[in-house]
């Protein structure tokens, strides 16, 4: 998956030499295809979390319903989400949220085939429901555990006429496009197109990319000279595909538009391309982070995320603040090793799953134990360090569990100290040792700051020296929580090549 994006980026550096229209067009199509693929985690991760939840609760329909309800609400990716049991002789959904599943109306053999297919792939099973009057795409996901028992399944609706709206006068108006499910331009497999006269002929470019266990094929043709900024077509394609596959791309689109305006002002063409590409990576990363923090009476909450500026690939840092009840808040900060789309997909899966388990009422150590199945360093080459803090506001208590993550810093009326949480193995690293919980009481006006290693890690330096730098900065900043985080970003985070995420929590006096 990452290879497509990297290929596109490598191409960018060579672009200044001998550009021509065909290469520009190929470039656009390649970028668009890469962006389509990067949208997939946003479909896959909620289903992956749903599948894990079903395995953990032995297919509890109520738990699944509660988890999946937000996925079918307005603006959400799906019209129908359901939970299925594997190897049932008469397969029926255990729970259906939203509209009835179209899959349920198919023959038992078809359903069994779809469900079984999702158990043999580690990615998403793509289900072709394009022959219906109201065409849909189905997505099936089974847990990657050894013998899964359940499949989380969702359907997204396509517009019946399969025509994407082209905004007249916009910078997007210069390209015709057609998007198909599968490896080629088969007319019955059309997902969406800007024109009715298909297939697209003339000077055109076609690109196929992996999409779950299927493929997407994108064909494009310019209506005029391709002079403008190379990425002009992208927000429109994301928007169009967002409509079709309902991939909740609005946030990315908005941010891309901002990034494009910024890029235009830069004189150097190559610089412009690089900036825009980096912006895509950052936009995707940001779209996977919380768009806003919860409002919790009695607590002040702030967060920062800064991508490493040198790279153009997506990083794996994340944070999450979950309001469990009026008095209990869970903070999660994590870091998937490596970069690129796979790291980012693993991050998204961990983030959604930890959220699901937190809302189920599990304690921090139990959540870490359950996340272990989602990543495997032996298989994927990635591991994740995760710190979870469960905050009891009125009791002034914090319970921590730590999977190899940098320790947090706490400041209260007794001083500013590094909390010595016992580090268990990172998630994805096999270990017989269970995760331990650690609870501490906090004093008046306490401030908790949790972060990723990008904040303090320096070459050739002891971890402890960097941690002390963070502690000292927090100890000497007496202004608002927001100022504390700004100061950390400004004065402490000096490494340009790594992501940095920080979350701060302060008890209001």
């Amino acid at each position: 998956m990452g290879a497509a994006a990297v290929g596109g980026l490598t191409w960018v550096t060579a672009w200044s030499h001998g550009r021509n229209e065909q290469r520009l067009l190929d470039q656009r199509v390649r970028e668009a295809a890469a962006v389509l693929v990067t949208s997939l985690p946003r479909v896959q991760t909620p289903l992956a979390a749903g599948a894990e939840l079903a395995e953990a609760t032995n297919g509890d329909a109520t738990a699944f319903r509660r988890f999946a309800t937000p996925l079918v609400q307005q603006g959400a990716p799906f019209v129908s989400v359901s939970l299925w049991q594997l190897n049932a002789t008469d397969p029926r959904p255990l729970a259906t949220i939203g509209q009835p599943s179209m899959l349920a109306a198919r023959s038992a053999d078809t359903i069994r085939a779809v469900l079984n297919r999702s158990t043999v792939t580690t990615s998403l099973g793509i289900v072709d429901l394009l022959d219906a009057d109201q065409p849909r795409l189905g997505y099936a996901f089974a847990s990657n555990q050894a013998a899964p028992s359940f499949v989380a399944y969702a359907e997204a609706a396509l517009p019946p006429d399969r025509t994407g709206v082209v905004q007249q006068g916009s910078t997007f108006a210069g390209l015709d496009y057609a998007l198909y499910l599968g490896p080629d331009e088969t007319s019955s497999e059309l997902l969406i197109a800007s024109i009715r006269d298909l297939p697209i002929t003339g000077r055109r470019s076609v690109q196929s990319v992996d999409f779950g266990d299927s493929k997407l094929t994108l064909a494009m043709r310019p209506r005029e000279e391709l002079g403008g900024p190379v990425l002009d077509a992208l927000p429109w394609i994301i928007a169009a595909v967002g409509t079709v596959l309902t991939l909740a791309a609005t946030l990315v689109t908005e941010r891309l538009a901002v990034g494009r305006r910024h890029a235009r002002r830069l004189a150097n063409e190559n610089q412009k391309l690089f900036e825009s590409q980096r912006d895509i990576a950052q936009s995707l990363q940001r779209s996977l982070l919380p768009s806003r923090l919860p409002d919790i009476p009695g607590l002040e909450i702030a967060a920062r995320y800064e991508p490493g500026v040198e790279g153009v690939e997506v990083g794996g840092d994340w944070y999450e603040v979950i309001a469990l009840t009026e008095d209990r808040v869970m903070v999660v900060v994590g870091d998937v090793s490596g970069r690129g789309l796979e790291a980012s997909a693993a991050m998204a899966a961990l983030r959604f799953a930890s959220r699901g388990f937190a809302l189920e009422g599990h304690e921090p150590a139990a959540i870490l134990a359950r996340l272990r199945n989602l990543v495997d360093v032996e298989r994927d080459g990635h591991f994740a360090t995760i710190l979870i803090a469960l905050i009891s506001i009125s009791e002034r208590k914090i319970t921590f569990a730590n999977a190899g993550h940098p320790r947090p810093v706490l400041r209260d009326d007794r001083g500013t100290r590094i909390i010595e949480t016992v580090a268990g193995a990172p998630v994805g690293v096999a270990s017989a040792k269970p995760y331990a919980s650690f609870t501490c009481d906090v004093g008046n006006g306490a401030t908790l700051v949790a972060f990723t290693d990008g904040l303090f890690e320096r070459r050739g330096e002891m971890v402890d020296v960097g941690m002390e730098r963070v502690r000292a900065a927090i100890a000497t900043e007496n202004r608002s929580l927001d100022e504390v985080l700004s100061k950390l970003m400004r004065d402490v985070a000096t490494r340009a090549d790594d992501d940095t995420a920080i979350v701060g929590i302060r008890w209001q006096q």
Binding site: G311, D335, S337, G338, R339, V377, E378, G381, H382, F383, T385, N402, A403, G404, P406, R407, A423, G424, A425, P426, V429, A430, S431, A432, K433, D453, E457, R459, G460, E461, M462, V463, D464, D497, D498
Partner: protein, 108 residues
Amino acid sequence: MAAVDDDATSARFEPCRDDAGECVLHVAGEVDLSNAPQLRRAIESMRVANPARLVLDVRELTFMDSSGLAVLLQAAAKLDALVLRHAQSSIIRLIETTGVTSVLSVEP
């Protein structure tokens, strides 16, 4: 195998024999995202000779980020033992704070 120098970050990966005659991979310099794949290849070629145990001499390793650590942890999962010999204190603390002391053995 020849020593490999990386453009972005300076690191060397060199197989040698130690005093006891055991084949050891010398890892020197800084290992990060830019050269972690080279470390992976160097370790894989070592595993051909001995698929059960791998000793890395890391006395000259001054920095390793999570990408480098991921390579070691992935290799360790496939081996009976992965030993880091002569590790500097900054590397030992990295292993301790990341909670992987039970996976990577540190020898003086």
